[in-house]
Symmetry: D2
Subunit: 274 residues, 4 copies
């Protein structure tokens, strides 16, 4: 299905990351993946020792997991979507190797107003926190796409897929306030880009709302075992698995279809319950 | 993907039918299909000569197309969803051959209030016309599923997919009134069954809204070339193709995932436009 | 707000009926109401003794409640929306008195597949039960509107409002299957008529989804005290009250606005919760 | 309806502003309004001469229109939602006069990526432009509410209403990209606050999507006469009027109801068309 096609996979932290399952599914279908993750780059200014240590550790885990799970020859890159220079640098590196991109998975989100599974009330969120969450979790879909296009790296008829969550539509039962606004923005960006890029270059842009998932770093930061069980019980089929998501994303990335602007659920039917 | 799995494909009229593309995609992925279509059965009472001729001709076209497009060995059955005895008879025949079913495509719709691309105003539709359209286009999803289950023919974790249209949500620019209500009912049935059957048997039920399509008998009856062009222009990627739909349905029928209760679009992005 | 305007109020069973609150709000704003309810009519054929007794009792309660709550001079009529002759007869009576109608509240629903707060699985519902529920709960919006228009009783720029329930969109936590499909159909009819009648006569058609409500006959038949408490707890403001609904319907009936095709919630925010 | 109640009305630029119609409707129903608008404040740093002139002119128009349309005694305040000190100062002034607030209309939006009815493609929007639009058009709902609550100015059971646009859901036919994302965020904030504030203080938060409207400053900046005519033709009842909107907002502000978290349309039915 993906023979001769290359996809960027963002958002791999470790082997449990949802993005890892997507990358593996692409490889299984003969595609090529280029993975991006956290790490210290020359564009980080004034990093604290703690931040530096965190990034170094993250990078080690990211690259180690990719090698082990996806193969030694899979390219990895440091990418920090909050640093325009980092996106630029990533694109230049792709260009130097004459890479052409047929799509990517946007699986990046961050919200510092959730800590230890406790969320700040929305009325206590300040504009910096609001913007930081927006930049990482929503605007990055614009900035990454824009840079790839600017550098002529994104092929016509490419396919882009982002990950959202039911919280973009409904108030969740678990801590989730500020980030729900960024997810709503991400979905709106998905749809506007589906129109803008669809007409220009036949590029598709879609989005998937996945079940609560404790396996990933994001899940661990916000969910308890009880939360996940509660969601599982409420879903007619129980919570969906990362592999279910991988099938869906692979289907959306499949070259040549005319599916775009979709906000879909892979959630065992959770969202149909009132 | 479908090795050892068997799917019923309803709604094949000729080689241009959407259901034909789905059947072919299943075969391509090593699955088996059983096709149902129109024809004279012993359960039809008091058929007029004209009706009999129509059914005979339909059956010839249906079976001929299946043999030619899908292979000589593909089973075909007469199925009239408005006759409980016909559904019963179909199930008995499956049972006699020890068939077990892993899902089906519901691609059946009819609305006699649209004639020659002209639609009756809703206020002129009488209750018989309303019920007839409901029975064929919506209730048949219940009746067919119920009979298959009653006869123990439907495997656990089976997957059911039905075809709807954007008119279930929005007022269309082309003639479409009474049938839009049946489509809304069909979508609601899809979701209620996703819950009911999901919890009981792990069975999935999903629905796809496809682009305007002139190729099918239904399309010819309701759409003009201009309608289809208009929809194509409005869609960021142009109208989706039957093959796009086939990929989607095959994805939804895929054994083992936890995707259910979805109402999805395969429409080139038509539905995102305001 | 309603000076010189006349509205038909269907669905009054007793003083706790939601329709009663709407009627009272219209009177409070200087409008006139004409109430319809159950009763034995000459169009009922072959009524069993039990059915006759039920209808007689219902009629007594209906007319008694109207007199007591709304005033001695408020007109009451027997209307059975499943009998075309009954709708016809009602229209003729309006005509004889030279009534002109500025809108109506459709508050009629029935589903015999819910008994003693237990609901039939959808797969066990037969086509008769499906159609009966559709006829009373959804198609009646078409048939009543059509007859009123046919007889020239419905003024241009009239406003029609129907009552739906969140179950038209989401699977409820309490017994509710077959009727959810009729509610989905009712909402679709609302929207199609908003287009059809809006363009022709400036007539508005809207719909409100109200909180679970135990006070009405329909509520008593399907809900327990625990159900209503559960919904109340889940709603940010608790369950909405019948008076909240009355304000909303009165607002939608208000002469001269351009609000149409709306499916709205008066539910304390219940529907925003995931 | 609003006797003894006080509402803040933001977003009045001149007598054609939508907010002006809402203010007038509140006065008509015996409520009190406090109006905020643009103007030079001591919190503006490094204003260019051009900016200063613009603000001075805006303030003159704002206060003049309020006096003329709403009465000499209606309070006006300068409020710039991008300056926390300005919001703070406004609250202090309210406090000094012992004002208590029963709700407000949020009618503030700005997007510099639309100029002379031409819009920047989303891929050309930079993060500053994205954030500026977000701050004014979406985050300000949080910051204004938070400050009012912090100062103890917002009564329990108050009602807040914001103005959105169909573009939060659908791609518009007229120039509108970046701002659609802010509108989606605004709607999400509305819903999250409906939950957060509803449970805490019984405060309601709702949102209305209004028709295209050329009369306001925002309309003039983005719409042509043809755009408005096109929307009017597509809407079953034609475009809604500012007075239609005023009725809706007044209804949502009405003390004591349990309607919250709603995203409603006052648009002549525009949104129901496919």
């Amino acid at each position: 299905m993906f023979k001769g096609k290359t996809y960027i996979i963002t958002g791999i932290a470790d082997k449990h990351s949802l993005a890892m399952y997507v990358a593996r599914e692409i490889l299984r279908n003969k595609g090529k993946v280029i993975c991006t993750g956290l790490g210290v780059s020359k564009f980080h200014k004034n990093l604290s020792e703690r931040a530096k240590a965190f990034l170094t550790e993250s990078h080690k885990l990211f690259t180690g997991s990719v090698k082990q799970e996806l193969g030694e020859d899979v390219e990895t890159h440091i990418l920090d979507v909050t640093l325009p220079e980092s996106i630029e640098d990533f694109c230049i590196k792709l260009k130097e190797k004459d890479q052409r991109i047929d799509g990517f998975l946007h699986a990046i989100a961050m919200d510092k107003t959730i800590r230890n599974k406790v969320v700040k009330p929305l009325l206590e969120v300040n504009f910096n926190e609001f913007c930081d969450t927006m930049e990482v979790s929503a605007f990055s879909l614009i900035s990454l796409t824009a840079k790839l296009k600017q550098h002529g790296l994104l092929n016509d008829n490419a396919s882009i897929c982002s990950l959202s969550y039911i919280a973009a539509k409904k108030v969740t039962f678990h801590p989730y306030r500020n980030i729900s606004i960024a997810k709503a923005a991400l979905e709106r960006i998905t749809i506007e880009l589906a129109d803008e890029l669809g007409r220009q270059n036949g590029i598709r842009v879609n989005c998937v709302r996945f079940s609560t998932y404790l396996g990933s770093k994001a899940g661990t930061a916000t969910l308890t075992t009880e939360d996940v069980e509660h969601a599982g019980t409420k879903s007619p089929l129980g919570n969906a698995t990362p592999q279910d998501l991988a099938y869906e994303v692979a289907h959306l990335l499949r070259p040549g279809t005319r599916i775009t602007g979709e906000i879909r659920h892979v959630d065992g039917g959770y969202n149909i319950m009132g």
